[in-house]
């Protein structure tokens, strides 16, 4: 059922972080014990959907479907996001300076209409993505793709960029059938943002080379995929996939009774309690929740005091907060979620010390401090952010801190947050692509996000800044991961960010399915990898 805070909206919260919002429900239903064909896979999810145009989509539900319909050059398999695997590109090489990447296309890959996939299609798709200036375009800025021959694509980057292979695995860089989509108004020209008219077509048809094609798309209700007859790779186990809009509550009830092939994407937190043992549950902690404090004394005398941040950090009941998220929850460690490379390891969990908090407050001369705390009034991953905020408030109250909660509609929250005038607030964050890069960029002093807290100096800015510089200078994944750990420790020691907890994405599968695994790669679950239990 829809509660006060479930909101169908997909919104970007941070520079390189998505806040995917659990959506309202739609067609739901009891999973009948009879009827459905074994070759249909039902995917129950709260829709967060705007479009099925790979160049424009930026939402969870769209990504699930897009990943099944559009192959990209590389991909991640299973739950592993360390190493991009070949997909349309059978191999790639990177230059030492991490500026030039050469991809060799697979032979025999065809689009759903039988046309072979060529380098031209790749260049067209990447150019279109950049020129559409959609929400993911910026990750690709500074990259340039050229077709060396029909099977070779060279991508060059202005800056050293070890994440290019990862970007080539994102759903946004799915390769479109150039001939087909240009017939329907697509263009990769500079003016694509206004000249491209293909969205309507792409919302109702698939123009990719993936294992599935679009059968029917009823926005807000269901997206039906059917197996691509001309798929170049291994045929998927299910000939049909119905992705249908269902709120979390119904997903739980439906899964409880599910006997056919059915998976649910949004069951998390308490909703996982009491599920039958026969269901498979796959989780990855890929989201962190953090609170932020404004460092500008003009905004708040309280939040701008670094000692207050320390006191808050000591006041929070981390395991208790984590418990709110149920079995997917994790006690706070670092800003990079545990699912991603560069996350802080076990044993580095933050700890509560109420006495210390009180002492710090006394040292700072803050008696009964009171501060406003904004948060988006939504339910995210099955947990009402209001509940999380209320818990934080309760913990702070134990240390003598008065937090005044201000729930805001998402857009209003974003406006206040971005306006830099909110004294304190909270938001969840997950990554747009499985690398720490973007959050290091935006959350370090001088970054877009840090600026919202007016954080450029003091408040631990020097240490954090240095760690960030080190991170960006690294040209290999391994070096970057090491730098990310350092950066997070610095941020945990002294910064206007208060890490609250981490939480998991979850995929729950009915007893009839196998391989229903949650992936932090961006598309939640690889539909083509879901199998039939024998």
């Amino acid at each position: 059922m829809t509660l006060r805070s479930t909101t169908p909206a997909a919104v970007r919260v941070l520079l390189a972080a998505t806040l995917a919002v659990a959506a309202t429900a739609c067609t739901a239903g009891r999973n009948g014990s009879s009827g459905s064909s074994t070759s249909t896979l039902i995917v129950n999810t709260s829709f967060v959907y705007k479009t099925l145009d790979p160049g424009r989509a930026y939402e969870q539900t769209g990504y699930v479907a897009l990943h099944a319909m559009y192959d990209s050059l590389l991909t991640f398999t299973g739950t592993d996001v360390e190493e991009p695997k070949p997909n349309l590109a059978e191999s790639y090489t990177a230059s030492d300076d991490a500026k030039t990447f050469t991809f060799t296309l697979r032979q025999g890959a065809t689009f759903a209409d039988g046309t072979p996939v060529t380098a031209e299609d790749v260049v067209f798709s990447l150019n279109r993505l950049q020129n559409l200036k959609g929400s993911s375009a910026s990750f690709f800025s500074g990259l340039e793709a050229t077709a060396k021959d029909a099977r070779t694509v060279v991508i060059t980057s202005e800056e050293p960029n070890p994440t290019v292979p990862v970007l080539m695995a994102m759903p946004a860089s799915g390769i479109l059938n150039r001939k087909l989509v240009t017939q329907h108004g697509a263009t990769d020209g500079e003016d694509a943002a206004t000249a491209d008219k293909a969205q309507q077509y792409l919302d109702q048809a698939a123009a990719g080379s993936g294992p599935y094609v679009l059968e029917r798309n009823t926005p807000g209700s269901e997206i039906v995929l059917k197996a691509n007859d001309k798929y170049w790779g291994t045929k998927p186990a299910y000939s049909r996939v119905v992705i249908r809009n269902m709120d979390v509550q119904n997903q739980k009830l439906t899964m409880t009774r599910a006997t056919d092939a059915e998976i649910a994407l949004d069951l998390s937190g308490k909703f996982l309690d009491g599920l039958p043992e026969t269901l498979s549950i796959s989780q990855k902690q890929d989201t962190v929740y953090f609170a932020f404090l404004n460092t500008d004394p003009a905004v708040s005398k309280v939040s701008s005091n670094p000692k207050f941040a320390q006191a808050m950090r000591a006041a929070i009941d981390y395991p208790g907060l984590a418990a709110l998220f149920g079995r997917g929850g994790g006690t706070a460690r670092g800003l990079v979620a545990p699912a991603y490379p560069g996350a802080l390891g076990e044993g580095e969990e933050l700890k509560r010390d109420v006495e210390k908090a009180k002492r710090l407050l006394a040292e700072a001369g803050l008696n009964d401090p009171s501060v406003e705390f904004i948060y988006p009034a939504i339910t995210y991953r099955g947990v009402d952010l209001g509940t999380v905020a209320t818990k934080v408030q309760g913990d702070a109250a134990a240390a003598g801190i008065d937090i005044e909660l201000t729930p805001l509609p998402l857009t209003a929250f974003l406006e206040r947050y971005r306006g830099g005038k909110a004294p304190m607030g909270m938001t969840p964050q997950s990554l747009s692509y499985p690398r720490a890069e973007s959050i290091v960029k935006v959350m370090s002093p001088g970054g877009v996000n840090a600026e919202r807290m007016n954080w450029s100096k003091g408040y631990g800015a020097e240490e954090a800044g240095a760690a960030a510089k080190e991170f960006l200078a690294a040209t290999t994944d391994a070096a970057r991961n090491e730098a990310a750990v350092k950066w997070q420790r610095a941020m945990n020691t002294d910064s206007p960010y208060l890490l609250l907890a981490s939480n998991s994405g979850t995929v729950v599968g009915s007893p009839a399915v196998t391989g229903a695994e949650y992936t932090p790669a961006g598309w939640t679950v690889d539909l083509a990898a879901v199998g039939v239990k024998k």
Partner: protein
């Protein structure tokens, strides 16, 4: 049978008012105090169980009266004042002024209450004050129409004309002769609308457009409980609270209407 019903309604409402006043004393726990004992079903320690943060549902239901009842009263009183004033003007002045005010009420009526209230709270942000504001905006036309109707009803009464013929000024006539004879139905309506206001407020809160957390508000509590209907006690008890208050208000409103013999709107 009517009389005992009215007595019961009176005592229920009285009990709620008392609970609201004495909430701090009679509720067994701090309504905001969280505990590790989350989602505990009703027991001797927690008669109504606990919610997702381990807060005592009974204490929260009792404290909810402190919010719902005064807010509903505020809605009704403010709407009565605003609607009453406009209705009085429309009915007494008549002609173009009447036409304008009545078309305005038509317009407000054209938007279903909760949808308009939702839009208003969405526009001004969720808060108790804004919820009240939204509900006043959507409910004043009822009073305006009733008062206007009453004024029109007595505009044909000879005593108004006689007073004017005796040299009494129009404003004095309005004050002494028109107002006392036309507010009755609206006041009766207000008692009937009190229950409705409680319902609408709870509805807005249910949608997250009412008082901010962690406030113990009945509608919001039902919403929290509805997140997992297997924990029935979290939503059932606040719902019963709303039901009893609204029912008592409606029974009393009915009784008052019967007593003063004022027709339906």
């Amino acid at each position: 049978m009517r009389r005992p019903l009215v007595l019961i309604a009176l005592s229920v409402l009285g009990a709620w008012l008392l609970l609201a006043v004495l909430a701090g004393v009679v509720s067994p726990y701090d309504p905001l105090a969280q505990s590790a004992d989350t989602y505990a079903p009703p027991s001797a320690a927690h008669w109504f169980g606990t919610d997702e943060l381990g807060r005592d549902v009974l204490s929260r239901v009792v404290h909810g009266a402190r919010l719902s009842i005064p807010l509903a009263l505020a809605v009704v009183v403010l709407a009565l004042l605003l609607g009453g004033l406009l209705g009085l003007i429309a009915g007494y002045v008549g002609r173009a002024v009447d036409e304008v005010i009545m078309r305005l009420t038509d317009l407000v009526f054209a938007f279903p209450q909760i949808i308009l209230a939702m839009a208003v709270t969405a526009a001004f942000g969720p808060s108790p004050a804004n919820a009240v504001l939204a509900l006043v905006i959507v409910s004043w036309p009822v009073y305006a129409r009733v008062i206007r109707g009453a004024v029109l009803g007595i505009r044909g009464e000879n005593y108004l004309g006689i007073a004017r013929m005796l040299g009494v000024g129009p404003i004095t006539v309005l004050r002494r002769d028109v107002v006392p004879n036309s507010v009755g139905p609206a006041v009766v309506l207000a008692t009937l609308e009190l229950g409705n206001a409680v319902l609408l407020l709870a509805g807005l809160s249910f949608l997250g457009l009412g008082p901010r957390p962690p406030a113990a508000e009945w509608g919001a509590m039902i919403a929290l409980g509805a997140a997992d209907i297997s924990k029935w006690w979290v939503s059932v008890f606040p719902g019963l609270a709303i039901l009893t208050v609204v029912l008592a208000c409606n029974i009393l409103g009915d009784a008052i209407r019967d007593r003063f013999d004022v027709g339906h709107r």
